[in-house]
């Protein structure tokens, strides 16, 4: 130590000559970094109120509130996040877990108030002036807490499928199923899409944690045809999945299928509590999914239930209409047997006519009509009575009951719904060359997207904008379909464009069979005159109230015959609802 140590520190004086590095805040506004986690903004239109941000917030800073001008609808809870900046810690977990990416952060950071109550804020609703800021923390979809990629379902190769009526999809392995189920964020918006309002997030979570038995039990709380739905449901829930906004929705249907298929004997799995027997009996006409659902829950509630079925097997449309490559027979048998084991009596080959109906009204305290739609709509064109024109539901029923049907080598299917696709794919399995003619465009087809893709993979050709004009006889036992082309006429926003025939153009196609699949209508001829008069019918369907009661008290109806949707899950929902209705009806009566 010496003079050097005394003098050297004086070198710091050279700083005087340097330019200071002070940032002259607030004269100079320094913008925060590109990724800065500043105040939140929310795109209210994109937000679906799933509440994931509130669930992941470590500080309970986010509260879901109802705000003016936003109503709940299917796939949108109507709630929006409200953030308390007296709680927030700007960690950005909410942004990283937002499934719609509507919530993000700007790089704004100054929020100064004199009162402590001014820190509660609904991003997107309370306008603060920084909504348009582009910079700030955003979600990187591939590196966030949300997994947008569905575990792909393995399927048989198209060539292999055509050889057999075995199931097309192979199902998830346990690992795949748990991985897929774990994607679910549990928001519950899917419930809004399900007619039966199944507890979807609960049973998905149970699958994810490996509690399959619990999962199936949750399903059976309001759906005794869980396995059926796991295979052939129209899965409208998936179109409201919050992950579907930015990625693939959770494969709810396949997960249900996975969980239910694990158990061959449902009696050991389902722990439904049976109530004491009651002195009331219910007759159910039609052993379809809706009728059997009603039967199952009525039996659980202690009522005496008898189901009358015209066909030799129970199952209704799922037995007769759905091809076995989608829904194998053993699976249906298993579910029906389980329902019957709850004390439901089934009478097959029991065709109800007016006389029998009167009798049923006598012996039962209530009647549930689950008769379905049996009468096919006709094309309404000249020459339709040609023997080579057949109707898809008749065709499918015969195939399913192993009756022989000749369809030849070339087939044209008219229609665009699931039945049309089924008929086409079944025909492909018989080796025919199949064309589907639909009057709208392919995108307008009401059939399931995956089904359409599957059909196309199997070699079904789909012709758009086809309007049949007439059917003509052709030599060698063939038939000629004469058709015109349609153009789509816009019907204004929110409505499907309407196909309009282009006049003066005619085309023809020569085939062996024409399969008509343009829908079915109710056949209510079994009703005796006095009931048929009183029964209100609206546009071909029986009119029911919110408890599924028809205009005649004591008679309930559900399923295809009563609703406009005409799918299995709606029928099941109707059946479940009717159970409550019947119970209330009994209570009111006694």
């Amino acid at each position: 130590m010496g003079l050097k140590e005394v003098l050297k520190p004086l070198g710091a004086w050279r700083q005087i000559a340097r330019k200071p590095h002070t940032i002259l805040v607030p004269k100079v506004h320094r913008e925060a970094a590109e990724r800065y986690r500043g105040f939140h903004v929310n795109d209210l239109g994109k937000c679906i109120g799933c509440g994931t941000c509130a669930a992941v917030c470590p500080n309970e800073a986010i509260d879901m509130v109802k705000i003016e001008g936003i109503e709940g609808k299917k796939g949108d809870s109507g709630f929006r996040p409200r953030i308390d900046y007296g709680r927030c810690c700007w960690c950005g977990l909410c942004v990283d877990s937002c499934p719609t990416t509507s919530l993000r952060m700007t790089n704004e950071y100054i929020w100064i108030r004199e009162a402590p109550d001014d820190f509660v804020y609904i991003p997107g609703y309370d306008i603060k002036g920084f909504e348009q800021k582009e910079k700030g923390y955003r979600k990187d979809k591939e590196h966030s807490f949300t997994d947008y990629h569905r575990v792909p379902m393995r399927e048989k190769e198209p060539e292999e499928r055509l050889q057999t009526f075995a199931e097309v999809v192979l199902g998830y392995t346990e690992e795949e199923a748990r991985k897929e189920a774990d994607r679910c964020i549990g928001c519950g918006l899917c419930i809004s899409g399900c007619p039966d309002r199944m507890h979807i997030p609960d049973y998905i979570r149970a699958v994810a944690s490996g509690e399959y038995e619990r999962s199936v039990n949750i399903m059976y709380e309001n759906n005794p045809f869980a396995e059926l739905c796991g295979k052939v449901c129209t899965r409208r829930c998936e179109s409201y999945c919050s992950l579907g906004n930015e990625g693939d929705p959770v494969a709810i249907r396949w997960l249900k299928r996975f969980a239910t298929e694990r158990f061959s004997d449902l009696k050991e799995v389902i722990r439904a509590r049976k109530q004491e027997l009651k002195d009331k009996s219910v007759g159910i006409i039609g052993a379809g999914p809706g009728g059997l659902t009603a039967a199952y829950y009525l039996a659980l509630r202690g009522y005496k239930v008898t189901v009358y079925e015209a066909m030799p097997e129970a199952g209704g449309m799922t037995m007769a209409g759905i091809p076995k490559y989608r829904f194998p027979l053993p699976s249906l048998k298993k579910q029906v047997e389980f329902i019957l084991s709850q004390g439901v009596e089934l009478k097959t080959n029991y065709f109800v006519d007016p006389e029998k109906f009167r009798n049923l009204m006598e012996i039962h305290d209530a009647i549930y009509l689950g008769v379905g739609l049996l009468k096919p709509w006709k094309l309404g064109v000249p020459g339709e009575d040609h023997p080579n024109v057949i109707y898809a539901i008749d065709y499918l029923r015969k195939v399913n009951f192993n009756e022989s049907v000749k369809i030849g080598n070339e087939v044209v299917v008219i229609g665009g719904g699931d039945v049309a696709i089924d008929a086409a794919r079944v025909s492909r399995r018989f080796g025919a060359k199949v064309t589907i003619g639909y009057r709208r465009r392919k995108v307008d087809m009401p059939a399931d997207r995956e089904e359409i893709e599957g059909a196309e993979e199997e070699g079904v050709e789909i012709w758009e904008k086809i309007i049949p004009l007439r059917v003509e006889d052709a030599p060698e036992g063939r038939v000629k379909l004469v058709y015109g082309k349609a153009r789509m006429v816009d019907q204004g926003p929110g409505r499907r464009p309407k196909p309009v025939l282009i006049e003066g153009e005619e085309y023809e196609i020569l085939v062996d069979r024409i399969i008509v699949a343009i829908g079915q209508q109710a056949d209510l001829t079994f009703l005796p005159q006095e009931f048929a008069e009183k029964m209100e019918v609206e546009r071909g369907r029986i009119k029911v109230n919110e408890r599924q009661m028809t205009s005649i008290s004591g008679i309930f109806a559900g399923g295809d015959v009563a609703n406009r949707v005409a799918d299995a899950i709606s029928a099941i929902a109707d059946g479940l609802r009717a159970v409550k209705g019947i119970e209330l009806y009994f209570q009111g009566k006694s």
Partner: protein, 176 residues
Amino acid sequence: MNIIERLKERFEVLIAEKKRKDLLIIETTKKGLIPMLFYLKEYEGYRTLTLISCVDWIEDKKFQMSYILWNFRMKANIIVKFMLDRENPDFETVYKLWPQAEAYEREIHEMFGVNFEGNPTQNEELILEDWDNIPPMRRDFDTLKYSMEKFGEREPKSRINIRKEISEQYDEWRRK
């Protein structure tokens, strides 16, 4: 002979698990703990006490006491633990072996209510001041409830369970 065998030879070892190549977990009994720590310190070279910790296994009515030691030459940690009765959490101090144990034990006494016989300062307040409830780190102490009662909240949060709310809302639609 490795260390686990040497320990098993001398003491009661309930569980011995090699977690990583430098982390060994040994479970022993209340009686065997202090002799084992002494042995580890004096003969095995685990001369440093890194941490004393306590875990509340309220379901089993036990406190787990863990002592983490560090061997500078072997570059390895060892966790020695034992289960202490939760109803009578009395134990002895290891302050004579390591001076820092005094402060660790003082903290555990404050946070869990474990009594360390022979620790001179354990009854002094370390972290809390004028504490008026059960020791706060015990699992049966509800900190949210305590906080809300004592400190309040600016605007009571609705704390709605959005998930439940959603499914109820849809149930209502169904009833319509």
